[in-house]
Amino acid sequence: MNLIATVSDLVDEPQDFIERTDNREIGWAGICGCLFGTLSIFIFLRMFSAVPPGFYSFLNVLAIMLGINFFFASAMHLFLEMTGSRGSALKLFFLVGATDFFWAVLIPLGFLANLEYLNPVADFLLCAVIVLLARISLMRRLYSISRNKALLALSLPYAALTAGFLMVFVYAIVYVVWLVI
């Protein structure tokens, strides 16, 4: 399978590509996207010595990326199925992986951040926004839904995670106060 041709089809005619292509071809693009995206994030983090060197360190980042993608794809699919939109969960997972290609932008931005022209956190956020926009674009084609619903489906897992962290934080503060008093 030609990766360039597959990605090119996905970029040129996403709707047609999603409808006609089987899981195998989308899966190829998704796994490659996830691998290249993880490699880019790993290299970016290594530029700032934020992760240790080595193959196992890369595998750790890859496992985290796959876990996050799996969690987000499943949460989004669950929400969309519950609200009556039909689509393939497996395709969604692979398409989420394919959008990880955009993390490649991190590497040139990492050079600029190293030269202190840009802030590394801002670089990361910029790439995250690009990736999220790409996910919205693909998701609305896969499930035939409006842009707003796709945005809602995408933001729900983040909202759930944020709420979870907030609850844990509040609980931790209450626990510390209880310890002190």
Binding site: I4, D12, R46, V180
Partner: protein, 349 residues
């Protein structure tokens, strides 16, 4: 339009099935070309990034492996020229160096080094409000200042608040300029060693301590018995040596002769104005005056931008720590760890 007007004309033939543009089958699309170009650039940048990583790793290996919490400030970091303000409040002692939120001498020394290493920091202001502390801890901060000055040539300004006596003054002596309030309590140049004796109390309650030791001075300073004249003589030698170090440090820092410092260094305290008259401080003023002076010495002008070491995590831990201290945790720890030691400290406050 013309065809519709011709009577008896045949219906138009069905449109031929849409076939792919033969050119698009032969030529790769424009997107493919761009994707190949991007893939090539990605490969090149990937290779170049290894050079950056090697360089970053090289720099990192030469740095001490301390946790630099200031990296977590993220977007709030500013690269404009600033004056770093490092507070030295309270008694100066060594604390657990692994607890970055504590204000022990090692943490202060580390902050001084970190501030001096920052490119945007043009001058460093030590905001001192301390009666001094243990000899080793005070000298650790003193040597950190000297090392930072030698390495970076950045000006150091010491500013005195309520009290900056004994070890607090020792630290300030390493700075280029000292500014004090007119009513600041300073001076108290000297060394103290205090040890309690519970011998009388123990005799009264009928308790006796048995000590087996390798040499006659091994339990020197023990609270379980009175001090012997020999021990007193030995301790006086330690005090005199530490005192000499203090006087030498003041003489070198203030560019005075040792003979001129010694008459001032009998342990007495001075107000800021008295200290100005005897040249132990350079100027009278408040914090803003000190900042203005630091800005001028750093060549960034009066009223400079200020960089305070305000790491959010450190403040959180510090707050929890101070809460625990308030409920008695720290006082119990201090009481348990109380042992006689040499101190550059004024016990008047």
């Amino acid at each position: 339009m013309e065809e519709q007007n011709i009577p008896g004309a045949q219906a138009p033939a069905p449109a031929p099935a849409k076939t792919a543009d033969p050119e698009s089958l032969v030529k790769p699309s424009r997107t493919r070309f761009w994707l190949k170009l991007i893939a090539g650039l990605y490969a090149v940048s990937l290779l170049s990034s290894f050079a950056v990583i090697a360089k970053v790793d090289g720099v990192r290996k030469s740095r001490p492996k301390d946790l630099d919490l200031s990296k977590l400030t993220g977007l709030s970091s500013s690269k404009k020229d600033v004056v770093a303000v490092i507070p030295i409040f309270g008694a100066i002692y060594q604390t657990d160096s692994s607890k970055v939120w504590e204000r022990g001498s090692q943490q202060i020394a580390r902050r001084i080094k970190a501030a001096a290493d920052k490119k945007e920091v043009k001058a460093i202001l030590l905001d001192i409000n301390s009666p001094g502390g243990s000899v080793g801890a005070v000298q650790e901060i003193y040597s950190a200042i000297l090392r930072a000055k030698a390495g970076t040539k950045k000006p150091f300004v010491a500013r005195f608040g309520d009290v900056s006596a004994s070890g607090g003054y020792y630290v300030a002596a390493a700075c280029d300029t000292i500014i004090a309030e007119p009513g600041t309590i300073t001076g108290s140049i000297g060394v103290i060693f205090s040890a309690s004796s519970f011998a009388g109390l123990m005799n009264k309650v009928g308790m006796r301590s048995e000590v087996i030791k390798s040499g006659k001075f091994k339990d020197i300073g023990s609270p379980m018995r009175d001090m012997t004249p020999e021990e007193r003589k030995l301790l006086q030698g330690l005090i005199d040596d530490s005192y000499d170090q203090f006087v030498t440090a003041v003489a070198e820092g203030r560019k005075m002769r040792v003979e001129d410092v010694k008459p001032l260094a009998d342990g007495r305290i001075y107000t800021g104005r008295q200290a100005l008259n005897i040249k132990l401080v350079d100027k009278l003023g408040d914090l803003q005056d000190a900042l203005d002076l630091a800005g001028e010495l750093g060549k960034i002008g009066k009223n400079p931008r200020i960089l305070r070491d305000s790491d959010p995590w450190e403040q959180l831990f510090s707050m929890i720590d101070s809460k625990l201290s308030f409920f008695g945790g720290a006082s119990i720890e201090t009481a348990l760890n109380a042992s006689p030691r040499l101190e550059y400290r004024w016990y008047g406050n």
